[in-house]
Symmetry: C2
């Protein structure tokens, strides 16, 4: 097999999206992953929520999130066309509510951030929240409605991406990349697989999520500053004809953060914890308890739903919570990692940026702030 | 196949125990169950706890429970011998604790019941409870120690019973009994299986737990007054070398009842809800939440354990919470059902009583209070 244009290490939503867009642009690409789509992408709730995720300190991340969100409708349509499967983008908005007085004060601060950043969110009194979602607890102290925060099922997306990537001529290698392969000029020239085989490529894209810093052969100065941030998440099962809510509901209840995402399939996602625990992916009883406690506080009818799945996965965290995209300090080695809580939202933006890097060698202006250089 | 001495409908701990003891006594017995041991016996925590289960209103049930408990050591040894497997009876006692002031008042009432009934339980101050079990919450307001309330793993027991029954010449028929079969004199003369085959027998023993009242052909006047009482229960996983407690811990925490049973395998059982919900066996999110909430209140280290299994099963409830044993008003039809929360505890007593019924036609004096006639 002759030299590839790129080998992408990691077949989560980021690796597969970059691979699909690169293959569609005519590049010869392999994505390596022993279990594509089964890491953080499989656990993710799929909120596309730059507004309700916004913080005062991360306005650049909010800008990038909004830029990616506007691409999602076209992205979902293209993906559906290339994959030959339906990809339902739900655009019915997100309601962020407060359970008690302390939660209400935190929500007022979030509203102030939204005003300062010019984001589209609207205050709703408790009664108005319950007009939107009648099964919200009567105890809630009001909420914000963010009409532009959407959601999509990430499991549908990764399944579609695997097909779309193949349909566009990409090759999926269901094997682990063990270490970087260097060529005679000490540039990265491919990867060595777990079985010893070398995939030679003009570029290697690290899209391995929380495992991005542990690939063999990464030079210390070109190791992305990514660490695992554990998240535990539940999937409950409702009757699709009788969902307890339809819009995404987020909130804090007695200080505990939670989000609730309903799918037309009847799946109800309850997430998620945040914990620094190395590479541990145990689902702790305490996490299940805390998530259910907050979810039942906000929507008491949740009590009646069976738990279909409990899962823990690892978000790729970075020092500033924003992704690391583009060239590293080592020739031939590129990053598309560190998406933390926002991998699903940022997939279209990331793919556009990485296609530019693969074809021109540099990040486009809109993504220049996300380069690895900012950590040096 | 010639006529059997008895066919037993239901292969839970009661049906299998009666079958094993009858086969060991030389009777020709078949137990019918499409999934032996997989009903309430599989869900049960296996507490052998006549003292901490005692109530003022059910002193007869307490007497029977104590009578059965004294048989357990010999029963477990005989079972282990006949099955050729170890059956670990844990005799390290049960600690019943109170979390807050209201829970403490309820515990004081339980202690008064114990005094009135002459049961062996001893008051322990909070500090003394924590000397016994150091990971109990420092917030608990004291407890009762019942040295005679033991525990056993019911899954080990039913697995051993299946072997012991076969080793003693009993036959297990993995099929459902569809309806009673009546002989020419309108006596019950066997059962018809789901496939249409008839098993002819001198006696039919209904040991079908919560399903005991729904067998086809049961005459209305000889239908046992048994209804399903749903229980949801969790199994967590601990390191066997690092269990958060060893004695069984029961208690109420902010009004929620819970029990915690630890096995040497590392299994930690957290049970159980009580709900009248027909034959529904959904595990509700609210049940998982409530059990974990109370468990974590009592033993905060529970938070760190993963949940291995959630399960719901149906207890066979009766109007007075005591089992229904012995002859019905229909010749040839016998009951060994209605054991509600106490099937594991009462198995030895039940087997002794039913063997007497099968050989003499009448309940022994010690079990006379448990006959079906008390409901007429």
């Amino acid at each position: 097999m002759s030299r590839l244009d790129a080998v992408i290490v990691g077949g989560g939503i980021i690796g597969l999206t970059v691979g699909w867009k690169a293959a569609a642009a005519g590049l010869r690409v392999v994505v390596c992953d022993p279990a594509p789509g089964r890491g953080a992408s499989w656990a993710a709730a799929g909120m596309l929520a730059p507004v309700t995720e916004a913080t005062a300190e991360e306005s650049e991340l909010t800008r990038v999130g909004l830029a990616s969100l506007t691409r999602w409708p076209r992205f979902a349509a293209d993906l559906a066309a290339d994959a030959g499967v339906d990809v339902e983008l739900r655009q019915d908005g997100t309601l962020q509510v407060a359970f008690d007085g302390d939660d209400r004060r935190a929500l007022d601060e979030l509203l102030a951030v939204h005003r300062r950043l010019g984001l589209d969110s609207q205050w709703r009194a408790s009664r108005q929240c319950r007009e939107l979602e009648p099964l919200l607890s009567p105890r809630i102290r009001g909420g914000l409605f963010a009409p532009g925060d959407w959601q999509i099922d990430p499991r549908v997306v990764v399944t579609a991406l695997i097909r779309a990537f193949a349909n566009r001529g990409g090759r999926l290698c269901r094997s682990s990349a063990r270490r970087l392969h260097f060529d005679a000029r000490n540039s990265v020239g491919g990867v060595e697989l777990a079985g010893g085989q070398v995939l030679a490529a003009g570029a290697v894209v690290i899209a391995a999520g929380a495992h991005s810093a542990v690939l063999g052969g990464l030079p210390p100065e070109a190791t992305p500053p990514v660490r695992p941030i554990k998240g535990e998440i539940l999937r409950l099962r409702a009757d699709p004809e009788d969902l307890p809510f339809t819009r995404t509901i987020r909130g804090t209840a007695r200080g505990r953060s939670v989000y609730l995402v309903a799918r037309s399939s009847g799946e109800v996602v309850v997430g998620a914890t945040m914990q620094e625990a190395g590479f541990d992916t145990t689902v702790r009883s305490g996490a299940v308890h805390d998530l259910l406690h907050a979810a039942i506080d906000l929507v008491p009818a949740i009590e009646e739903l069976p738990i279909e799945e409990t899962l823990a996965a690892l978000r790729p965290g970075t020092p500033d919570n924003a992704p690391v995209l583009g060239p590293s300090s080592t020739p031939g080695l590129l990053f598309a990692t560190g998406h933390h809580r926002n991998g699903v939202l940022l997939a279209p933006f990331t793919a556009d940026a990485m296609l530019e890097v693969l074809t021109t060698g540099a990040l486009p202006a809109e993504a220049a702030s996300l380069g690895a250089g900012r950590f040096r």
